[in-house]
C-alpha cells in the first residue's frame, strides 16, 4: 500500500479525535459520574456492534433479532451469577428441574435417532413420520412438565434463583447460550436467502422476549431481578467514580481484545474466505468452500459477542427487567451504529457505537426541549391544546429519526463513515 501510516489512517484519526473531543466536552459539562456511565454503556454497545458487524459486514447476514440474543445472554448471566435462593434448593424444585433436564435430554436423543433413522434403512416417508411423532411426544411431555414445574416452583420458592458463580463465568455462559440459539437458527435458515434469516431472527427475538417476560419461575418475569453483582467493586456510599471507572476499564479491555482478534481474523485466510462468500457466493462455492457451514460459523460467532455484550450491559445496569429489551434500543440502534460507522470495518463499528450512543442519550433531552418550544409557541400563537401524553409522543420522534437515518445512510453513504478497506493482495 502506498502512503505512510498517517496518510492511510487520516480519516480514522480525524473521526476518533473528534469523538474524543465530544467525550471531553461531555465530561466537562455533565460531570464524570454521568459521563462514565455513558461510556460504559457505549462500550457494551460497541461489543454488540462488533458482533453485528462481523455478521453483516464480513458475511452479509441480516440479523433483525439482535435484541433476542442480548436478552438471552443477559438472562443466562443473571441465572449464573445471582446469589442462590435457599427456598428453592430446600424445596422439591431442584428435582423438578433435574427431571426436566433428563426429559429434555431424552427428547433430544429421540429426535436425533428419528433424524438419522434414514441410515438404518428407514424410508423417507416413515422417517418424516417418526420425526413428527418424536416432536409431538417431546412437546407434550416437556410442556406438561414445564407447567407443573413452573406452578410448583412459583408456589414454593418464587423463582429458582441464581447459582452464585463469578460474574465472568456468567458472561461467558451468556455468550455460549446466545451462540447455541444462533446455531439452531442458522442451521435452519442459512442455507436459504438472507431474507429468511431476517424473518426468523425477528421471530426468535420476539419469542425469547415473550418467554422471559412470562417465565416467572425462571427469572421472576416482569418482577425484575436486582441488584446484579459486578465483576469489580460495586459502588458503595455514593462513591460512583472509582467503581464505574474500573467497570469501564474492564469493558474497554474486553472490547480491545475482541477487536484485535477480529482484525486478525479479518486479515487471515478465514476472513478473506468470508468476504469471498459475501461478495460472490457462487464463485466461492465453485472454489470448494462450504458456504452454509461457514455462514453458520460466523453467525454463531457474532451472536456470541451479542450475548456477551448483553450480559455486560445488564450487569452494569444492575437490574434485570425483560420488558426493558426493546427492538428499538437493542436491535435497530445497533444497526444504525454498524451501518453509519461502516459495515465490515471493526473500527467503524466501535466508532459508530460510541458516537451513536452518545447522540442517542443526548437526543432525549434535546427532543423534549425542542417539543417544549413547539408546545409553548403552539399554545401561544394558535390556541393549540397539546395532548396530555405530549412528552411520550415527542420521544417517538427519535424512532422516526432512526428509521430516517437507516434509509438515508443506505442510499447516500452505503459504505458508512469509515468504509471497509479491502487489502489488495
Amino acid at each position: 500500500m502506498e502512503g505512510n501510516v498517517f496518510e492511510r489512517n487520516r480519516r480514522d484519526m480525524t473521526l476518533f479525535a473528534g469523538l474524543a473531543l465530544l467525550v471531553a466536552v461531555i465530561f466537562l459539562t455533565q460531570g464524570s459520574v454521568y459521563s462514565l456511565r455513558m461510556l460504559v454503556e457505549a462500550g457494551c454497545y460497541a461489543m454488540i456492534a462488533l458482533g453485528l458487524t462481523i455478521q453483516w459486514g464480513y458475511a452479509g447476514l441480516f440479523n433483525v433479532g439482535v435484541m433476542g440474543f442480548i436478552a438471552a445472554g443477559a438472562a443466562s448471566s443473571v441465572l449464573i451469577t445471582f446469589p442462590t435462593n435457599p427456598d428453592f434448593w430446600n424445596s422439591n424444585g431442584p428435582q423438578l428441574v433435574a427431571m426436566f433436564l433428563v426429559k429434555l435430554a431424552f427428547s433430544a436423543i429421540l429426535l436425533w435417532l428419528a433424524n438419522i433413522s434414514g441410515r438404518f434403512g428407514v424410508g423417507r416417508r416413515l422417517r418424516g413420520l417418526l420425526i413428527v411423532i418424536a416432536i409431538a411426544v417431546a412437546y407434550l411431555v416437556l410442556s406438561a412438565h414445564m407447567t407443573t414445574m413452573a406452578e410448583q416452583i412459583e408456589a414454593n420458592s418464587g423463582w429458582i434463583g441464581g447459582l452464585g458463580l463469578p460474574v465472568l463465568v456468567g458472561w461467558i455462559v451468556a455468550g455460549v447460550v446466545a451462540g447455541v440459539i444462533a446455531w439452531f437458527v442458522g442451521k435452519i435458515c442459512l442455507g436459504l436467502r438472507s431474507d429468511y434469516l431476517a424473518i426468523a431472527t425477528l421471530g426468535i427475538a420476539q419469542i425469547i422476549k415473550h418467554f422471559l417476560k412470562n417465565a416467572d419461575w425462571l427469572t421472576r418475569g416482569t418482577l425484575t431481578v436486582s441488584p446484579l453483582p459486578w465483576p469489580v467493586e460495586m459502588p458503595s456510599g455514593g462513591e460512583f467514580i472509582m467503581a464505574r471507572a474500573s467497570y469501564l476499564s474492564l469493558v474497554a479491555i474486553a472490547v480491545v481484545i475482541i477487536y484485535l482478534l477480529l482484525e486478525r481474523a479479518y486479515n487471515a485466510p478465514w476472513g478473506r474466505m468470508m468476504r469471498a462468500i459475501r461478495d460472490n457466493e457462487t464463485a466461492a462455492e465453485a472454489m470448494g468452500k462450504n458456504v452454509t457451514s461457514r455462514r453458520i460459523e460466523i453467525f454463531v460467532l457474532g451472536s456470541v459477542l451479542m450475548g456477551f455484550g448483553g450480559a455486560m450491559l445488564i450487569h452494569f445496569a444492575s437490574i434485570y427487567d425483560p420488558s426493558g429489551f426493546l427492538d428499538l434500543n437493542h436491535t435497530f440502534l445497533i444497526w444504525v451504529m454498524v451501518i453509519l460507522g461502516g459495515s465490515g470495518n471493526n473500527r467503524g463499528a466501535i466508532f459508530g457505537a460510541v458516537f451513536v450512543y452518545i447522540v442517542w442519550v443526548m437526543s432525549e433531552p434535546i427532543t423534549l426541549a425542542l417539543f417544549d418550544v413547539i408546545r409553548t409557541y403552539g399554545v401561544a400563537w394558535f390556541d393549540w391544546d397539546p395532548p396530555s401524553d405530549f412528552n411520550s409522543r415527542a420521544l417517538q420522534m427519535r424512532v422516526f429519526v432512526i428509521g430516517l437515518t437507516i434509509t438515508l445512510v443506505l442510499r447516500f453513504a452505503p459504505r458508512g463513515l469509515l468504509p471497509e478497506r479491502q487489502a489488495r493482495h
Binding site: D389, V399, V401
Partner: protein
C-alpha cells in the same frame, strides 16, 4: 351442544377472522416478494397507517354531516384504500426505487424497509399517541346472534366480522380475475416468474411495480382497518403481525397469491386452534374417558401464541422451503 357453539365461536370463527386478516396482508407481501424480490418489513405498519387513514376519512365524513344506514367507517375504507395505495407508491419512489436503480442487493432493500417501518411507527405515534381508539365514532356495532339448533347459546358474529369475511371473498375473486384476465395482471405474473424475460418482451416494469404497490397497499389498508374495527385501533401491530404474515407468505409459496390466501387461513386456524382449550369439547364425554380432564388443555398457552406462526415457519423452511404452492426459493 353449547360446547360445540363455544368451539365454533372461539375456534372456527376467530380462526377465520384472523385468517382473513393474515391472508390479505400476505397477498401484498407475497406479491412484493415475487415482483420486487424483497421481504417487505414495513407491511405491518402500512396496515396501521391504512387504519388511521380510514379513521381520519371517517371522522371527516362524520363532521361533514354524512349519515349512512351503516357505520361511516365501512364507507371510509374504499377511499382510504386508494389513499394508502398512493402512499405506498410514494414510499416506493422515495425509499426503494433509488436503491433498486442503484442495483443494491435485495437484503439492502429489506433493511431499507425496516427503516421505513420505524419511520412510519414514529410518525404515527408522534401524531396519534399510543392509546387505543374506537374506529366507530360514537356508533355502536351491530352484533348478530345466529341461533344454533339444540343449543341455548348462539353463534355470535359482529358487523365488522361479517364485512371482513365478505370483503375477503370479494377481494380474492377480484384479484383472481385481475391476475388471469387483465393484461396488467398477466404482466405481473410474467414479471414474477422471470423478470428478465418479461422486460425484453416489452412489459412496462414501472406499471407492474405500481400495480404491486396498489394491490399491496390497498389490501394492507383494508386488513388494518377491518382488524381495528373488530377490536380497537392501536398502533402496535407492526412486528407482532409481521411474523404470522411472513409465515403465511412462505407457507403459501413466495410469489403465489393463492398460496398466500391458503397460508393466511392455515396460520390463522392453527393459531386459534392451538390456544383453544380443548377440554371444553371433551367435557361432555368425560364419563367415557379413562383420564381426568385437566382444566386447561390448550396446546399452547395464550401468551405464547406467537410461537405458532414461528413453528409453522420453521417446519416449512426445513421440509418444504418452496411452500405448499411451489413458490420460489429466493
Amino acid at each position: 351442544m353449547n360446547d360445540l357453539v363455544f368451539f365454533i365461536n372461539k375456534g372456527l370463527l376467530s380462526g377465520m377472522i384472523i385468517g382473513s386478516i393474515y391472508a390479505m396482508g400476505a397477498i401484498g407481501v407475497t406479491m412484493i416478494f415475487g415482483i420486487l424480490r424483497f421481504a417487505h418489513f414495513a407491511h405491518g405498519d402500512m396496515m396501521t397507517l391504512g387504519a388511521f387513514v380510514t379513521l381520519i376519512i371517517a371522522a371527516l365524513l362524520a363532521s361533514a354531516g354524512v349519515v349512512l344506514p351503516f357505520p361511516i367507517a365501512f364507507a371510509a375504507i374504499i377511499p382510504a384504500m386508494a389513499v394508502t395505495a398512493v402512499l405506498a407508491i410514494g414510499l416506493d419512489k422515495m425509499f426503494y426505487k433509488p436503491l433498486r436503480n442503484a442495483g443494491a442487493r435485495p437484503v439492502v432493500l429489506v433493511m431499507a424497509s425496516v427503516g421505513v417501518t420505524l419511520m412510519l411507527q414514529g410518525l404515527i405515534r408522534l401524531f396519534a399517541g399510543v392509546r387505543a381508539r374506537d374506529m366507530f365514532i360514537d356508533q355502536p356495532k351491530d352484533i348478530f346472534q345466529i341461533p344454533f339448533p339444540g343449543a341455548t347459546r348462539a353463534v355470535i358474529l359482529t358487523e365488522p366480522q361479517v364485512v371482513l369475511i365478505g370483503f375477503t371473498v370479494v377481494a380474492v375473486l377480484a384479484l383472481h380475475l385481475f391476475l388471469t384476465r387483465s393484461r396488467l395482471g398477466k404482466a405481473m405474473r410474467a414479471v414474477s416468474d422471470n423478470p428478465e424475460l418479461a422486460r425484453i418482451t416489452g412489459i412496462n416494469t414501472n406499471h407492474v411495480v405500481w400495480a404491486t404497490w396498489i394491490i399491496g397497499g390497498g389490501l394492507a389498508c383494508a386488513a388494518g382497518s377491518l382488524l381495528s374495527m373488530d377490536v380497537t385501533l392501536k398502533p402496535d401491530l407492526s412486528f407482532n403481525i409481521l411474523l404470522p404474515i411472513f409465515a403465511a407468505t412462505i407457507v403459501g409459496g413466495i410469489g403465489q397469491p393463492y398460496g398466500a390466501i391458503a397460508g393466511g387461513f392455515l396460520v390463522g386456524f392453527c393459531e386459534t386452534l392451538a390456544v383453544f382449550n380443548w377440554s371444553v369439547l371433551l367435557r361432555p364425554i368425560q364419563d367415557s374417558l379413562w383420564f381426568e380432564l385437566p382444566r386447561n388443555m390448550a396446546l399452547v398457552p395464550t401468551e405464547y401464541k406467537l410461537m405458532v406462526p414461528f413453528v409453522i415457519l420453521i417446519i416449512v423452511l426445513i421440509y418444504r422451503p418452496t411452500g405448499i404452492f411451489r413458490g420460489r426459493v429466493l
